[in-house]
C-alpha cells in the first residue's frame, strides 16, 4: 500500500430498491492495488452494493456519492463504467442463448479499447489473447465458442467470469459471491485465477458469505456489512473471527 491513491470512494451511500432502503449510509475507500473483502449476513445489502457500483437499473441512490478515480460514477451508464475499468463478476451469470461467448467478449474488449483510445483488436489478435488468458482458469476452449454461459456448469460459469476479467483487465473488479456454489477444486482454480490478476494497479472488492474464499485469496481488509452499513473493519483476522463467532457480536458491538 505504498501508493495510497483512492480508486473508489463511497461516501454515505443510501440506496433504495423498490421503495425499500437497503444501503443506509455506507462508507468505503478502496485504494489502488488493495483487496477488500466485504462479508455479511444474507440480506445485508452486499449484492446491492455490487449492482449499484456497476450501474444496474432499479437501484436508486437517494443520498451520498460514489467516486471512481475522482469521477462521479452515478453520471455513467453501465457500459461507461465498464469502459472506465469497472468489472463485476456476477453471482449468477446469465445465460444468453445465441450470443457467442467469444464474440461477446471481443465486442466488449474492443468497446473498452476504443474508449481508451487504443487500437481495436482483430479476430486473430483477439484469439491469441484468449488462448493465453483461458489457461488461467482452465476453461475448455469449446466453451468459448458456445453461447454465453449456455449449458455451462455452475463452476464453468464462475470460471468464465474470471476469464472475462482476465481478458478485460479492469482497474476495479467486484467479485460478487464468486465462491458460492463451488466445490473445493473449482474454488482453487477460481482463486488461482484471481490471484494471478492481482496487481499494484488493480483493486478488488470481494463480496462473500464465507470465510473459506479468503483462505485462497488473501484480502488486505475485511469489512462487515450489516443492515446497510459497514459496522466493522479490520484485517484478514477479522474474517477468521467472524467464521468462529458469527455476526451477532459485531452487531452488538456496533449497537
Amino acid at each position: 500500500m505504498e501508493n495510497r491513491q483512492p480508486m473508489l470512494e463511497i461516501n454515505n451511500l443510501h440506496v433504495t430498491v423498490d421503495g425499500k432502503e437497503i444501503l443506509k449510509g455506507l462508507d468505503l475507500i478502496v485504494n489502488k492495488g488493495e483487496i477488500h473483502a466485504i462479508m455479511g449476513p444474507n440480506g445485508s445489502g452486499k449484492s446491492t452494493l455490487a449492482y449499484v457500483l456497476s450501474g444496474k437499473e432499479g437501484y436508486e441512490v437517494t443520498a451520498g456519492n460514489l467516486l471512481f478515480e475522482g469521477k462521479d460514477l452515478l453520471e455513467f451508464s453501465p457500459e461507461e463504467r465498464a469502459r472506465e475499468g469497472i468489472f463485476l463478476a456476477f453471482q449468477y451469470p446469465v445465460e444468453i442463448p445465441g450470443v457467442n461467448n467469444a464474440y461477446m467478449l471481443k465486442a466488449a474488449l474492443n468497446a473498452q479499447r476504443k474508449h481508451r483510445g487504443l487500437e481495436e483488436l482483430d479476430a486473430m489478435e483477439f484469439m491469441a489473447l484468449v488462448k493465453e488468458k483461458v489457461k488461467l482458469v482452465q476453461l475448455k476452449d469449446d466453451l468459448l465458442q458456445r453461447s454465453v454461459n449456455e449449458g455451462f456448469s455452475g463452476g464453468e460459469k464462475k470460471r468464465n467470469e474470471i476469464f472475462q476479467m482476465a481478458v478485460l483487465e479492469p482497474k476495479l473488479a467486484i467479485l460478487d459471491e464468486t465462491d458460492s456454489g463451488l466445490d473445493i477444486d473449482a474454488l482453487k482454480i477460481v482463486a488461482e485465477g484471481v490471484n494471478a490478476l492481482r496487481s499494484p494497479e488493480r483493486s478488488m472488492i470481494m463480496i462473500t458469505h464465507y470465510q473459506r474464499l479468503l483462505n485462497y485469496i488473501e484480502p488486505d481488509f475485511v469489512h462487515v456489512l450489516a443492515d446497510g452499513r459497514i459496522i466493522k473493519s479490520g484485517g484478514k483476522d477479522l474474517a477468521l473471527e467472524l467464521e468462529k463467532r458469527g455476526y451477532d457480536w459485531v452487531r452488538e458491538e456496533a449497537a
Binding site: 450501474g55 463504467r81 466488449a108 454465453v148
Partner: protein, 438 residues
C-alpha cells in the same frame, strides 16, 4: 370485388391457356367461387386479425406484358453470393427467359414456365386443390405465370432452383399472380427457393400459390423469402401433400410488404412423412404480417414441427396461428409447435394462437407460445462488459432471430439473411464479423 370480376371479363381471352377448354373452365369456376364467397372478413375465424377490406377498395390492375429494361447485372443484388443455382426470373409477374438459367438441366428434372405449360395441350394437368380458399381461387382464376417443376424418381437435383419474383416501381397499383407447381418423384431430392423482391417502391399485390406434392421417400427443402416493397401486399398459399416417408423442410422469412399473409396447408398423407417448418417474421412501422399454418396428420407415424419467431417493432403487428390436427386413427404422431415473439416497442402487437386438435390417443404433442421483450438481465450483463446499449439490444435481437436462420441448410442464404438482419437491428453498429468467431 367488382374490380376483379371486371378485370377477369377483360382478360379472360388473353390469359394463358384461354384456348384450352379445361383451363378455361377452371378459371371460370374459380372466379365464380370468388364472386360467391367474397373476400374473407374479420368475422372469419382465420381472418380475425387481418383485414383484406382495403384490397377491395383499391384497384390493382392485373400486370400484363411488361417491357422491363432489366439486365443480368440488375439481378446481382438478389442473388446469393457463392450459391450456384438454376434460376427463373419473373418481372412484375412475367417469366423472363433471357434472365433465367434453366437450360441444360440434368436428366429427370423438368423446370418449365407456367404460361407456356398452360398453352401446350400435351402437358400434364396441374395439381388443383382450391378447397374453400378464396385467395387460392383468385390465383387460379388469374394465374399468369410461374414455374412447373418435376423430378423423376431417384433424381437428386444438386443445384437449388432459385425463383426470383421481382416487382418494379411502376405507375399505379398492380397485381401479380404467380403459381408454382412442384411434384417430386420417389426418392428424389430438390431445393427450391422462392424469393419475392422489389426494385423501388412497387405498389404491388402478389397473390401467389405453391402446390407441392412430395413423392414417396423424397426430400424437399423449400424457402419462401418475402422481401417485397413496403408499399406492397403479399398473399401466399402453400399447399403441401406428403407421401410415405417424404420429408419436407420449409423456411418462411417475412421481412417486407405493408401487409403479408402466408398460409401453409400441410397434409401428411402417409406413414413416415415428416414436415418441418421454420419461420421468422419481422415488422416495423405499420407493417402487418400474418402466418397461418394448418398441419393435418392424416396417417399414423407422421411427424411435424413448427418453430416460428416474430420480432415486432414500431407500430407493427404480427399474427401467428398454427393448428395441428391429428385425425382419428393417426396414432404414433409427434407434433411440436412453438411460436416466440419479441416486442421491441410499446406500440407493436402480436396475436398468437397455437392450436391442437387431437382425435387419436397415442400421440406426442407439445406446443407453446410466448410474447416478451428483451431480457433486462441479459441486456445488463452485456452492458456491464462495456458493450453499448444499442449494440447490446441489437445483439440480443439478432440472436433471437438467428435461431431460425441458422437452421437453413443452404449456407449462402443463411449468411445473406444474417447480414441483412444485422443491418436491420442496428443503424450505427457494425456486425460484419458476427459469425467469424463462431
Amino acid at each position: 370485388m367488382e374490380n376483379w370480376l371486371q378485370q377477369f371479363a377483360e382478360h379472360r381471352e388473353r390469359l394463358p391457356g384461354a384456348q384450352q377448354p379445361q383451363i378455361r373452365a377452371l378459371r371460370e369456376e374459380s372466379i365464380q367461387r370468388v364472386a360467391d364467397a367474397g373476400l374473407p372478413t374479420l368475422r372469419d375465424e382465420d381472418w380475425r386479425y387481418t383485414s383484406l377490406q382495403p384490397l377491395g377498395r383499391r384497384e390493382f390492375k392485373l400486370s400484363e406484358a411488361v417491357s422491363p429494361s432489366l439486365e443480368a447485372a440488375d439481378l446481382e443484388a438478389f442473388r446469393f453470393p457463392e450459391l450456384d443455382t438454376w434460376q427463373m426470373v419473373f418481372v412484375d409477374g412475367q417469366f423472363m427467359p433471357g434472365l433465367s438459367k434453366i437450360e441444360d438441366l440434368p436428366d429427370g428434372v423438368i423446370v418449365h414456365d407456367l404460361a407456356s405449360w398452360l398453352v401446350d395441350e400435351n402437358r400434364e394437368a396441374l395439381m388443383l386443390r382450391n378447397e374453400a380458399n378464396v385467395l387460392a381461387s383468385l390465383n387460379t382464376a388469374f394465374m399468369v405465370d410461374g414455374a412447373v417443376i418435376r423430378t423423376r424418381e431417384n433424381v437428386i437435383v444438386e443445384k437449388p432452383l432459385h425463383l426470383i419474383f421481382i416487382t418494379t416501381a411502376r405507375e399505379g397499383s398492380f397485381m401479380v399472380v404467380p403459381r408454382i407447381d412442384l411434384r417430386t418423384g420417389a426418392n428424389s431430392e430438390i431445393r427450391v427457393v422462392e424469393n419475392f423482391v422489389a426494385m423501388g417502391a412497387a405498389q404491388s399485390l402478389t397473390n401467389t400459390l405453391t402446390n407441392i406434392v412430395a413423392g414417396e421417400n423424397s426430400r424437399i427443402e423449400y424457402y419462401h423469402l418475402q422481401e417485397e416493397s413496403k408499399e406492397a401486399w403479399h398473399l401466399a398459399n402453400i399447399f403441401v401433400d406428403q407421401k410415405q416417408d417424404s420429408r419436407v423442410i420449409g423456411h418462411s422469412v417475412s421481412l417486407g410488404a405493408a401487409l403479408a399473409r402466408v398460409d401453409f396447408h400441410i397434409n401428411l398423407d402417409a406413414a413416415g412423412g415428416e414436415n418441418i417448418l421454420n419461420g421468422l417474421y419481422m415488422g416495423k412501422d405499420r407493417q402487418h404480417t400474418d402466418h397461418h399454418i394448418l398441419i393435418e396428420h392424416l396417417s399414423p407415424h407422421t411427424r411435424s414441427e413448427q418453430r416460428f419467431k416474430g420480432i415486432m417493432d414500431g407500430a407493427s403487428r404480427g399474427v401467428f396461428n398454427g393448428k395441428v390436427v391429428v385425425h382419428e386413427g393417426a396414432q404414433k404422431i409427434e407434433a411440436v409447435q412453438s411460436n416466440r415473439n419479441l416486442l421491441l416497442s410499446d406500440q407493436a402487437e402480436v396475436d398468437t394462437k397455437p392450436e391442437l386438435e387431437i382425435y387419436a390417443d397415442d400421440v406426442k404433442c407439445a406446443h407453446g407460445a410466448t410474447v416478451g421483450q428483451l431480457n433486462e438481465d441479459e441486456l445488463f450483463y452485456l452492458r456491464s462488459r462495456g458493450i453499448g446499449e444499442e449494440k447490446a439490444r441489437a445483439l440480443l435481437t439478432w440472436a433471437f432471430a438467428d435461431d431460425v436462420i441458422s437452421r437453413m441448410a443452404l449456407d449462402p442464404i443463411r449468411q445473406t439473411l444474417e447480414k441483412k438482419l444485422a443491418g436491420e437491428f442496428s443503424r450505427t453498429e457494425q456486425f460484419d464479423d458476427i459469425r467469424d468467431l463462431v
